[in-house]
Amino acid sequence: MIAGTPEQILKELSRVWASLGKEEGGGVLRACTMTLILAADVEEEVDLGELVAGLMHDHPSRAIVLRVRDGQEELLESRVFAQCWMPLGKQQQLCCEQIEITASEGSLVDVPRLVVGLMAPDLPVVLVCRTPALFGLNDFKPLVPIAGRTIVDSRRSSNPGVTLHQLQSLRESGHDVRDLAWTALTGWRQRIASAFEPIDVLAKIKDVELVRIQGSEPKMWYLASWLRRGFGKGVDVRFSPGQGIDSVEILGDGIKLEFARTSTCTELPDIDLLRQELGFTGRDRVFEEVLPGALELGRH
C-alpha cells in the first residue's frame, strides 16, 4: 500500500512501467484510451477486479478502482499495478495501468481531489458506479462532474425509483448519464423495432391502445416509456411482475403483437453491457428522452 497523493501514486506507476520494461525487455505496449473510474461499496466489489480485467481488452484505460468502506474512521490507501495480456496472434503484450483506492466513507471527501490528479490527460473520463447508493453520499457526488460520462446500474439499486430520480437530476444539470438497465434492453428494443419495419405494421402504430409488459423494475419502466415515445403518451401501459423482461404485448385496433423472451433478448452479463456502453460515443438522445417517462411510470 502507498500513501495517497497523486505524485506518490504516479511515481509508483512509473516504477511499475520501468520494471515491466526491464522484465519484458521493453516489449510491452502501454495502452490507454480513457480514464475509467469504477466505484463500488464492499458488497458490490467482489468481481470488480475481473470486471476491470475484462474491460481492458476492448477499452484499454487507466483504471481507477475505488472501493468504498463503511465507517467514519480515516482510511485512504492505494496500490498500483499493470494489467497485461497477449492479444491473440500478436507477439507483444498490451498493458494497462490500474490504481486501486480504498477509502472509508469518512475519507471519501479526499477522493475527488486525488482522482483529479490521477486522470490521464486529454482523454475521456468515465465513471462507472456499481453501487447506486453511493450517489446518496455527499462526498461521492463531486466525482460526477470530473467524469464526462457517468454509468449507473439501477438494476442493482434497492430503490430503483430513487436511482432514476438521481439520474434525471444529473441529466438536468447537463451531465451525460447512462444506465445499464437501459443498455440491457437493446435486444428487446431491436426486436420490437424490427416488427414495425413492414409498412403495413408501421401504419398501425396510431391504432395501438394498450401495452402489457411482464417483467421487473426498472427495466419495464424504461421499456414502457420507450414504447410510449413511439405510440404516443395516451397509450395505456400495464405491468405484471416477472424477471427482467419476460414478455411484451402490443394491442390495438387491428394489431396484436406478442413478444416472448428469446435468445436475442436474453440479458447479457454486466461486463458485456459495460463493454457496449463504453463503445458508444456521443449523447444517447433516445435514453435522455425516455428517462423522464420511466421515472414518471416508476412513481405510479
Binding site: 484510451t33 491473440l88 496472434g89 507483444q92 431491436q190
Partner: protein, 504 residues
C-alpha cells in the same frame, strides 16, 4: 401513409443485415479457403451473420455436403486469423454450408442451383449473393448463365460480387461491364477491392474528415509529395503462370493502389453514403493526368526481380520460377508518378510503387509536407527536414508524424523524432479482416467500399498508356535483385523531381 419507424435507434441498434443465400463459385479455390469461408465463420462467431443465411459452394469437383464441410473446416482451422476455432460454433455454422457440384458451362448445373436455392427461399426471403471467385475469363458468361436460368431475379435481391481484375484493359473492362450489366443492374454489382475494406484504409477517411487540424494542410500549398508503397518480400509463390499474364501494374496499381490514392486525395463527400463517397472517389480518379505514351519512360518504371540472396538463402529470379517463360517480360515491380489535375493537388507528385521480392513487406502512405521556409537552425547543414505523415497499413497499423526536435544539451542541434499512434494499443479489440467487412457490407447492401464501373474505367485510363508502352517495347530484364528495393531507374524517376523513396 406511414412515416418513419419511431423505434429505430441508430446509436445502439446493429445494422440490419437480412438473411440470404451466399453462392460461392470457385468454392474449392484458394480465395475461398483462405479468406471467404474463414471470414464468414468469423462473422458467425461475432453473431454478425444473420440467422437463416446459407452458404452454397460450387466447383467442378464432385463432393457431398459433408465432404465440403470437412474441407472447409480444415481451411478455417488453418487460415482463421487472430481468432479461436470453436468446435461447437463450427458445428452450427457447418449446418448452413452446402455444396452443388457442376460445370459453369452446363445448363443442368444452374437448374440444380435453382432447385437448391428454392429449398431455402423461406429462410432467405429469396435474397442471393453470388460471389465469383473464379477465373476472370468466366465472369461474364456466368453472369449471363445466371440470367438465362432465371437466377438473376427473384423474390428477394440478387447481387453479384466480382473479384478483380475487372478486365485486362479499358476495352475488356467495358466489354465485361456491358455483358454483366445486361443481367445485373449496376447497383447490384459489387466489385470487390479488398484494400478498401482494410480498417486502416477506411481510417484514412476518419483521419482526414473527422479531424480539423489535417484537412487545412491537405493540399498543394503544404504537401510536397505523396508516396504509396506496397512492397512484398515474397515472390510469386507458385502463381508464376498467372502472374506472368498479369504483372504488378495490373495486379496492384490499376486497382488497389489507385483506390488508396483516391482515398487519400478525394474531396470530402457531403454525406457518408455509398454513392456520395463513390462519386468523390470517381471524380478524383478522373482527374489523374493521362500520360502520352512518349512521356511514359519519364514517369513509370518497370522492373523484374532476378536471383538474389536474403538471410543466407538463395532466391530464384522470376524467370526461374515454375511456369514462367525464360524470356518473360512481366513486371514484378511497377512504379509510377501520377499527378492530379485539380485545384487541390495541381503539381503535387503521387509516387506509387509495388513489387515482389522487395527488401521487406510493408504497405504505407507517406505524405511529405513542405519544409519550413527558412532554416534558422543548422544553417551550415542541409537545412530543415520536412515533416512526414506516415499512414501504416501493414504489417504495422497506425499513423506516425515525424517532426524536428531539439537534441538535449547545449547548442541548438535538431533531430527528427516520431510521434506514433498504434492501432493495437488504442483499440484493444481485434480489427475485422477486409473480407469480413466487405462481405457483411454486400449482404447489407452497402456499396461504399466497393468499386463502381466509372471508377474502374478511370483507373484503367490512367494506367493504359503505361501498359501500352510496356507491351510495345522490350525491356532489359531482370533489373533488380531479389531482396532489394527495386530497380535503380525507380530511384532516378524520383531524383528527377529532387525526391527519393522514403524506404530505399
Amino acid at each position: 401513409m406511414a412515416g418513419a419507424n419511431p423505434f429505430t435507434d441508430e446509436l445502439r441498434f446493429d445494422r440490419r443485415v437480412p438473411p440470404c443465400a451466399i453462392v460461392i463459385f470457385g468454392a474449392n479455390g484458394d480465395l475461398t479457403k483462405r479468406k471467404l469461408i474463414p471470414s464468414l465463420y468469423r462473422l458467425a462467431f461475432e453473431r454478425r451473420l444473420p440467422e437463416g443465411c446459407v452458404i452454397i459452394g460450387n466447383s467442378r469437383t464432385p463432393l457431398s455436403d459433408e465432404d465440403y464441410r470437412e474441407k472447409m473446416k480444415a481451411a478455417v482451422k488453418q487460415y482463421l486469423e487472430e481468432s479461436p476455432f470453436e468446435e461447437g460454433l463450427w458445428e452450427t455454422f457447418a449446418r448452413s454450408l452446402y455444396y452443388v457440384p457442376g460445370d459453369l458451362n452446363d445448363v443442368q448445373f444452374y437448374s440444380a442451383l435453382k432447385e437448391k436455392l428454392e429449398t431455402f427461399e423461406a429462410q432467405t426471403n429469396g435474397n442471393v449473393l453470388y460471389y465469383l471467385s473464379i477465373q476472370p475469363s468466366q465472369y461474364a458468361s456466368v453472369a449471363e448463365c445466371l440470367g438465362v436460368a432465371g437466377l438473376s431475379q427473384g423474390r428477394g435481391w440478387r447481387r453479384l460480387v466480382i473479384e478483380k481484375p475487372f478486365g485486362r484493359d479499358l476495352n475488356t473492362a467495358r466489354e465485361l461491364n456491358d455483358r454483366v450489366s445486361k443481367v445485373f443492374p449496376e447497383k447490384e454489382v459489387y466489385r470487390i477491392d479488398h484494400y478498401l475494406g482494410k480498417e486502416t484504409v477506411q481510417n484514412v477517411l476518419a483521419f482526414r474528415f473527422a479531424n480539423g487540424i489535417f484537412e487545412p494542410l491537405w493540399n498543394r500549398r503544404y504537401v510536397n509529395s505523396v508516396q504509396i508503397t506496397a512492397a512484398e518480400s515474397i515472390g510469386v509463390e507458385g502463381r508464376g503462370a498467372y502472374y506472368q499474364e498479369s504483372g504488378a501494374l495490373r495486379d496492384m496499381i490499376q486497382n488497389h493502389l489507385l483506390q488508396v490514392m483516391a482515398t487519400i486525395a478525394m474531396e470530402p463527400s457531403a454525406i457518408f453514403e455509398p454513392d456520395a463517397v463513390r462519386d468523390e472517389r470517381a471524380k478524383l480518379l478522373r482527374s489523374i493526368r493521362i500520360w502520352k505514351e512518349a512521356e511514359v519512360p519519364q514517369h513509370a518504371v518497370k522492373g523484374q526481380y532476378g536471383p538474389g540472396r536474403v538471410g543466407g538463402n538463395d532466391l530464384a529470379g522470376f524467370r526461374q520460377e515454375p511456369g514462367v517463360a525464360p524470356d518473360a517480360q512481366t513486371d514484378t515491380y511497377a512504379a509510377a508518378t501520377f499527378y492530379v489535375d485539380n485545384w487541390r493537388w495541381a503539381g503535387v507528385p503521387f509516387y506509387i510503387r509495388t513489387g515482389k521480392r522487395l527488401a521487406r513487406r510493408v504497405t504505407d502512405i507517406a505524405i511529405r509536407f513542405n519544409s519550413a521556409p527558412l532554416s534558422i537552425f543548422n544553417r551550415e547543414n542541409d537545412g530543415p527536414r520536412p515533416n512526414l505523415l506516415v499512414i501504416k497499413i501493414q504489417p504495422e497499423e497506425g499513423i506516425s508524424l515525424r517532426f524536428q526536435s531539439k537534441q538535449p544539451g547545449g547548442g541548438m542541434r535538431l533531430r527528427p523524432v516520431s510521434m506514433d499512434f498504434n492501432y493495437g494499443s488504442s483499440f484493444g479489440v481485434r480489427t475485422p479482416t477486409a473480407y469480413e467487412t466487405l462481405l457483411e457490407d454486400a449482404m447489407a447492401g452497402d456499396a461504399t467500399l466497393y468499386t463502381r464501373q466509372d471508377m474502374v474505367d478511370a483507373s484503367w485510363r490512367a494506367v493504359e498508356p503505361i501498359l501500352n508502352h510496356w507491351n510495345s517495347h522490350k525491356f532489359d530484364l531482370p533489373n533488380y535483385e531479389a531482396g532489394s528495393w527495386g530497380p535503380r531507374e525507380s530511384d532516378d524517376m524520383l531524383a528527377r523531381n529532387g525526391h527519393h523513396w522514403r524506404l530505399a
